[in-house]
């Protein structure tokens, strides 16, 4: 028998009693055990950001974070962001700016942006770039993503594609 530990995992405000192996990652537990498939697994080595979720409001890579380490903390996934069928300002601005194509990076990108705006509600363009530096998007060239985050922050300099990243 493999060794297991009993956890109470608090995800999107709900406690889930769950028995996991110590080696299981938070990403696998959220996706395969709790059915929260919004977060994606891509690089497996904490460089792409597709698996970004929030732990106590901070963006982390769930692919390299052990589920057992989440005990006693609040985990937020992309499924926890839309409330009562209403899109959040960030979700709306992502749609308005076409800040995604394939959408595989989008949940992680959204979580990184959420953490960024929580810490800094009025970021500059450079601060947005720094805030999503840990998240790869292979489709859009990032420009509409940066625009969307600035737009959601109510920034006046969300000037569109011609601004580029810097």
């Amino acid at each position: 028998m493999r060794e297991t530990v009993e956890l109470s995992l608090v995800v999107n405000g709900r406690a889930h009693p769950i028995r996991v192996e110590p080696r299981e990652t938070l990403a696998d537990v959220l996706r395969e055990r709790l059915g929260l498939t919004g977060l994606k697994i891509s690089c497996d080595v904490q460089v792409c950001g597709a698996c970004t979720v929030l732990v106590d409001g901070l963006a982390i890579s769930a692919c390299t974070y052990l589920a057992a380490d989440a005990e006693g903390h609040e985990v937020t996934t992309v499924e926890g962001l839309a409330r009562a069928g209403q899109l959040s300002p960030l979700q709306q601005s992502f749609i308005d700016a076409a800040a995604f194509q394939c959408g595989f990076c989008t949940p992680g990108m959204r979580m990184a942006a959420t953490a960024l705006l929580a810490e800094n509600p009025a970021p500059t363009r450079a601060q947005v770039v720094a805030g999503i530096e840990g998240n790869i998007c292979r489709c859009t060239g990032y420009v509409p993503i940066i625009d969307a985050i600035l737009e959601a922050a109510g920034a006046v300099d969300a000037a569109g594609v011609s601004e580029g990243a810097r």
């Binding site: 891509s42 080595v45 749609i95 194509q101 060239g141 990243a165």
Partner: protein, 765 residues
């Protein structure tokens, strides 16, 4: 966004940046990709891969793995006598699992199926395989050297789906395919030239990095096979599966959920036959979800070594071009015969050249198999050809913009005999890029600018169908075989159907990418979807409307006069919408009309290619001479797309394609040692662009209504990648005086070139 429009105004919602159809699903995390799916009773597979780049397999022992609790099956080629092991749409040279020999490091040797992924992973370590290593070649030069080890001893069957007409030529056992492009008197062209420029260029082995790794689920039931896969061409995958498992096409169903990136890397068949074979032996539905590191070993882009010479008159006019392209195509053909065919065509550029002699050979090496990657065949040759345009301009004292303006073909002019005439205004495109770069004002000291242009024979083959069903409430379901891979086809194709049926967009829904439930489409690639599938939908809509007109005459006008009207018909001055006609004809509350759209090589689709895809890119750069780091100060793209059905999506394609091209220009390269080890097969050491790498960007859309597609549209999405490496290299030349011959232009390569420029410079390392 800048749009330059001279086309006629199309009907709504064509030309409108309506929100993406998949937007809410994707921003809420609700969008389901293959990697998110499971099937009741599903087991998990893991793959044991070869540690050797070339070896004979002398024995495989899976007994210990099978004894592990939770393991359901352990499968090697020896267990698949009832399966056709070799697949490939061009050359059937690729065993779905290693068959006696491994030809690259990472080739699948044994598949384990278990109740959960951890058990399958654990079982891999219990499999014992003995190998007899064979000599290894990883470069094209080594593979063609005398006495080189031969990768394929068995002659592979040539298949009809290779994408071009001529038979695949092979003049050496390690040549996978050979393609030529020849016209004119090449010797005379060079003999009479005022200037000949000649050189060697290298384009890297690249990796598309679709963020969703290759993932498939196979389920055998009811005498047939159902496969869910993260793939671009479900119908091609179906065809290969039917052939491997001796099934009729109708017994194979391939379904494509949302796809996490493709860029060509999910074209054609990948892990689907292996997954289906494992499911067959396990007698369970099986999910095979590769890691990214395994995906890198599954498909990558063709590297190229290009020797090229271009002959010019004193006024800068091209007289001739010779080129020999060698593609490093890896262990199996995959789509490289077509990549090679296209490379031979596309290296000619969008120029009027009286004589051409080009050979492109795709070479087998003991590296992971190369296949399609956005722009396929174009960037490899365009880097070389466009570098030479600037070199010639410099030596002849002509402005680099001007030398291109003197050579580009005019609208309607054919690049080669029997080709479709140029459906673009290349001179105008060049001027748009020049304007955006302020070409007429000198660059700041230390900066250099360049403009490069390419034309790709795009669109693949015009083979597609669509069904358009008008329901009893007048709403419409459109079925197409084209895959939404992020490019926005689910939005753009709905816009076309809505416009053709005079309906609001929210009355139109699409069913895509299901080989049983949706209608046939050859492939989702070569930038073909908007143009070719758009035309099939238009034909289906016209067929539906024509039937509805008949039905209205029959059921509403008593055989009398019916006038076509917006969104329906007029009978004696009374408007009846589509739904009313359907209900009247069936004399009830239900029913539907089925419109059929077929696109084949006939009519407007007789001349090949279906359309030309233009790449027109401007770049301004500076170089840190101490470190060799290139800083791109501005990128400009001109998207010559005829009619942008959804301008926001077209612009997004151009930005994304150009940034992908920038990654290859500056950092992306998979590095193999001569012994066959891949040194950087992971996302840490294979560096793709990040947000901080993105330069200021100007995206221009040129819409002149000159495409063969609906409302004058033609394809986009790949063109902006193709000239980027050349534009950066030429701009670096103008900023620093160095000529770069090998992409990517890493700081080390640039630094070395700067030291060669200044041999006496102090501080040399």
């Amino acid at each position: 966004m800048r749009r330059v429009t001279t086309r006629a105004t199309p009907p709504s919602p064509i030309g409108e940046s309506v929100p993406r159809r998949d937007g809410i699903a994707k921003v809420t995390g609700a969008a389901r990709f293959t990697s998110d799916l499971s099937v009741p009773g599903m087991a998990w597979a893991k793959i044991l891969r070869s540690p050797y780049p070339h070896a004979r397999i002398s024995s495989i022992d899976t007994a210990a793995a099978l004894a592990l609790p939770g393991v359901i099956a352990a499968v090697s080629a020896a267990d698949l006598a009832d399966v056709e092991l070799y697949y490939g749409h061009a050359l059937a040279d690729h065993p779905l699992i290693a068959h006696g020999v491994v030809r690259y490091g990472g080739e699948p040797v044994v598949g384990i199926v278990a109740e959960d992924p951890a058990t399958a992973e654990e079982a891999l370590a219990l499999v014992s395989v003995e190998y007899d290593p064979l000599p290894v070649v990883t470069t094209v030069e080594a593979a063609l050297a005398p006495g080189a080890p031969i990768l394929h001893e068995r002659e592979a069957e040539q298949r009809p789906q290779r994408g071009f007409e001529e038979a695949i030529e092979r003049d050496h056992p390690n040549v996978c395919s050979s393609s030529t492009q020849r016209w004119g008197d090449i010797d005379a062209a060079f003999a009479g030239a005022d200037l000949v420029v000649e050189g060697d260029f290298r384009y890297p082995i690249s990796y598309a990095y679709a963020m969703e790794p290759y993932t498939a689920i196979a389920h055998w039931s009811d005498g047939g096979l159902t496969v869910w896969s993260s793939c671009q061409h479900p119908f091609m995958v179906r065809d290969d599966l039917a052939r491997c498992f001796h099934l009729p096409l109708s017994a194979v169903r391939v379904i494509v959920p949302y796809v996490g990136g493709g860029y060509g890397s999910k074209s054609y068949t990948k892990i689907e036959p292996l997954t289906a074979a494992l499911a067959l032996r396990a007698d369970r539905p099986v999910k095979l979800a590769l890691s990214i590191e395994e995906s890198i070993l599954t498909t990558r882009g063709d590297g190229a070594v290009v020797h090229i010479a271009s002959a010019f008159d004193g006024d800068g006019r091209l007289r001739g071009r010779r080129a020999e392209i060698l593609l490093n195509t890896g262990a199996y053909a995959e789509n490289s015969p077509l990549v090679g065919r296209k490379a031979a065509n596309r290296i000619c550029g969008p120029y009027r050249i009286p004589a051409v002699d080009v050979t492109c050979r795709a070479i087998y090496t003991n590296t992971s198999p190369a296949s399609s990657f956005r722009g396929f065949g174009a960037p490899q040759g365009i880097f070389a050809g466009e570098s030479q345009m600037d070199e010639a301009a410099e030596r002849l004292g002509i402005d680099p913009l001007e030398i291109r303006r003197r050579n580009v073909v005019r609208p309607g002019e054919a690049l080669w005999s029997k080709a479709r005439g140029m459906d673009a205004d290349l001179d105008a495109d060049l001027l748009l890029a020049a304007d955006a770069l302020a070409w007429d004002t000198p660059a700041r000291p230390g900066r250099g600018r360049a403009i490069c242009i390419s034309a790709s024979d795009a669109g693949s083959e015009p083979v597609t169908t669509s069904l358009l069903r008008v329901h009893a409430d007048g709403s419409v379901t459109v079925t197409v075989g084209s895959t939404e891979i992020g490019q926005g086809s689910s939005t753009v194709l709905a816009q076309i159907a809505a416009a053709e049926m005079d309906l609001p967009l929210d009355r139109v829904h699409l069913l895509q990418s299901d080989t049983t439930a949706a209608s046939y489409d050859r492939s989702t690639g070569a930038s073909r979807t908007t143009t070719l599938v758009g035309l099939a939908i238009q034909a289906a809509a016209r067929d539906a409307r024509s039937q509805l007109l008949e039905w209205a005459r029959d059921a509403l006008a008593g055989g009398g006069t019916v006038e076509p009207a917006k969104g329906g018909v007029l009978v004696a001055g009374v408007h009846h919408d589509w739904g009313a006609i359907v209900r009247a004809w069936f004399a009830g509350a239900g029913g539907e009309v089925v419109g059929r759209g077929y696109l084949r090589r006939a009519g407007s689709m007789t001349a090949m290619p279906p359309f030309w895809e233009i790449g027109c890119v401007g770049a301004e750069v500076s170089v840190d001479e101490e470190t060799g780091q290139i800083r791109v100060e501005r990128l400009v793209t001109v998207g010559d797309v005829g009619c942008a059905i959804n301008p926001q999506l077209v612009e997004s394609q151009d930005v994304g394609a150009a940034i992908m091209g920038l990654g290859i220009a500056l950092s992306e390269e998979l590095v193999y040692t001569p012994e066959g080890s891949l040194l950087n097969g992971n996302l840490v050491e294979y560096r793709v662009p990040r947000a901080s790498d993105i330069p200021p960007f100007t995206a221009i859309l040129a819409e002149r209504g000159d495409g063969v597609g609906v409302y004058g549209a033609k394809g986009g999405g790949e063109g902006a990648l193709n000239p980027v490496a050349a534009a950066v290299a030429n701009a670096v030349r103008r900023a620093t005086g160095i000529r770069l011959h090998e992409a990517p232009f890493t700081p080390e390569r640039v630094w070395r070139a700067l030291r060669e420029r200044d041999p006496g410079r102090e501080g040399d390392g």
